[in-house]
């Protein structure tokens, strides 16, 4: 039979456990826990926690999680797997594999000088960033959705990239790219199949079908930055739809240049649409 624990103070637990509510330090090993709420430090090894909510430091070793939400520092040794992993604080892991990874609690879209960082290796189907974040760890993210400032040194590669805030990186290479244009963003090259840089929220069908820990309505309600024009060097893709963009070169199969674009050279193979509010120096049909 599964046991439930109410813990005040320090405690060590193991075996099949139902619900644990702890105020104090908890040490768990060889445990299978259905629900663990802990306010204090947690040291856990060779265990599985279906649902973890922790406020304090978490040190985990070879432990898998179902849903994990932790506020504080989390250190993971060995390989850990999780379905949804939400961390508010610094995270370091030898290897964390999860379906959904998020770096802040719901509703936190903060910008400023502070930013979170992860260290180690991370693999996730979708990474959602709701707090200013610098990506300087080993990553394998299929989808990246960022609602706060996002920094990366180099060319970011993933399948679907959605940015609703300021980004700073050398380039982005993805199947589907949506970027909300901002003059504060620093991006040189965008390469992809479908590229959409637009002040119209890019909550298309692809976005809606992405696995996310937050609802689509959350992203619909996101407060967007004031309208400004984003500067890039080059945009290359199959289908390109841009507005509020200044670029040296735009090259694509089907190109739609929207309002307030200032483009030096546009190359296209198929169709082109140009807004009367856009300025283009040179249009070339390939």
């Amino acid at each position: 039979m599964k046991r439930n624990y109410w813990i005040v103070g320090d405690r060590s637990i193991s075996g099949k456990i139902g619900k644990v509510k702890a105020a104090g330090d908890v040490s768990a090993f060889d445990a299978d826990i259905a629900k663990l709420h802990v306010a204090g430090n947690l040291d856990i090894a060779n265990s599985f926690v279906q649902k973890l909510r922790a406020a304090g430091e978490v040190n985990a070793e070879d432990t898998d999680f179902g849903y994990c939400k932790a506020a504080g520092d989390v250190n993971i040794k060995g390989i850990s797997k999780a379905d949804t992993f939400v961390i508010v604080g610094d995270l370091s892991a030898d290897l964390l594999e999860c379906r959904l990874l998020r770096n802040a609690s719901k509703g936190t879209v903060r910008t400023g000088k502070n930013f979170f960082e992860f260290s180690g290796s991370f693999k996730a189907e979708t990474f959602e960033s709701l707090f200013a974040f610098r990506l300087n760890c080993k990553y394998d993210f299929k989808n990246i959705v960022t609602a706060a400032e996002f920094f990366y040194d180099g060319v970011l590669e993933c399948e679907n990239f959605y940015s609703f805030n300021v980004i700073e990186m050398e380039g982005v290479n993805a199947e589907k790219i949506y970027i909300y244009p901002s003059s504060a963003s620093k991006l040189e090259i965008a390469t992809g199949t479908n590229i959409n840089i637009s002040t119209t929220r890019g909550l298309d069908r692809v976005f809606k079908s992405l696995p996310k820990s937050l609802s689509n309505a959350y992203y619909t309600r996101l407060k967007l930055l004031p309208v400004s024009i984003m500067t890039l060097i080059s945009i290359e893709g199959d289908n390109i739809n841009i507005d509020h963009v200044k670029a040296d070169r735009v090259s694509g199969l089907n190109v739609k240049i929207g309002d307030l674009c200032v483009i030096d050279r546009v190359e296209y193979k198929g169709n082109i649409e140009v807004s009367e509010k856009a300025i283009i120096n040179e249009v070339i049909k390939l």
Binding site: S183, A217, L260, K277, I279
Partner: protein, 278 residues
């Protein structure tokens, strides 16, 4: 895949089905996945519903999240503490939701009372000729409100917040509208309206606050910017402030667009900012 039906009184404990039909009084006690869910009688759900199509011809009381492709309501649909997500929603009856409703296309021709409505294209048309003569007496009104969990009115469609791309509505009472294009028909009451594109408002509407900048911008666009000495001085000053060369081809093109009335002064500023990001 299985088909199941309730043709009298019965309960469903959830699971995956091809088609689920409730013709009498049915109760769902677990999570349900189905291609098609038809309700012809009374239906109460305490689980999560995922379906391609949900056709409600009777009365549904929903206490779990609903994620469907198509939601058609001909009877009464009451959702409490739940989230409705759909590709398209068509309502010819009554829809009441204390949580959020989000769908690409929403068309409501009946009576609605919704806390949060999000979508791409939203059309709320209240069939006034059929209903406006009905007035719910005081006691029944409070009983109806406590039954539905939200205030309901036979005079207006009631929504707390609407956020969408295109909104078309009449006889709508709403606290906040945030939309790109808004067309408000007769007798709408709006506390706060934020519109970034086309805005059409019937004179009988009562609007509290609006975002005025958009109004002035569109006004400028219609009138063009040609001619007056003041505007020329202003654009010259902007170019000077930004240390730009007025003879540069891109600057010249921007000035031409402005003089042709294609872009507004604010847009000129944005474009010149981009030319000189310092």
């Amino acid at each position: 895949m299985k088909k199941t039906y309730v043709d009298g009184i019965g309960s469903l404990y959830g699971g995956s089905y091809d088609e689920v039909t409730v013709s009498g009084i049915g109760k769902l006690k677990g999570d349900l996945k189905a291609n098609k869910l038809n309700v012809d009688g009374m239906f109460k759900s305490k689980g999560r519903i995922e379906a391609d199509s949900f056709i409600n011809d009777g009365m549904s009381r929903i206490y779990g999240d609903v994620k469907v492709g198509e939601l058609r309501i001909d009877g009464m649909f009451k959702a409490r503490c739940s989230k409705i997500e759909a590709d398209s929603i068509y309502c010819d009856g009554i829809i009441v939701c204390t949580g959020e409703v989000s769908a690409d296309n929403v068309e409501i021709e009946g009576l609605c009372s919704i806390a949060e409505l999000y979508g791409d294209k939203i059309k709320i048309q209240y069939n006034a000729s059929a209903n406006n003569t009905v007035n719910i007496p005081g006691f029944f009104k409070s009983a109806a409100n406590s039954f539905f969990g939200r205030p309901v009115s036979t005079q207006y469609s009631l929504v707390d917040t609407i956020e969408c791309t295109d909104l078309e509505a009449d006889r709508l009472k709403v606290n906040t509208i945030k939309a790109n294009n808004v067309t408000l028909g007769p007798d709408c009451v709006v506390d706060y309206l934020e519109c970034n594109g086309k805005l059409e408002i019937d004179p009988s509407c009562k609007i509290g606050k609006t975002n005025k900048d958009i109004k002035t911008e569109s006004h400028n666009c219609q009138n063009g910017n040609r001619g007056t000495a003041n505007t020329e001085v202003t654009i010259d000053k902007i170019i000077e402030d930004k240390n730009l060369d007025k003879t540069a081809p891109q600057v010249q093109k921007i000035i031409k667009k402005y003089q042709a009335g294609k872009i507004t002064l604010n847009e000129v500023k944005l474009m010149l900012d981009a030319l000189n990001p310092k």
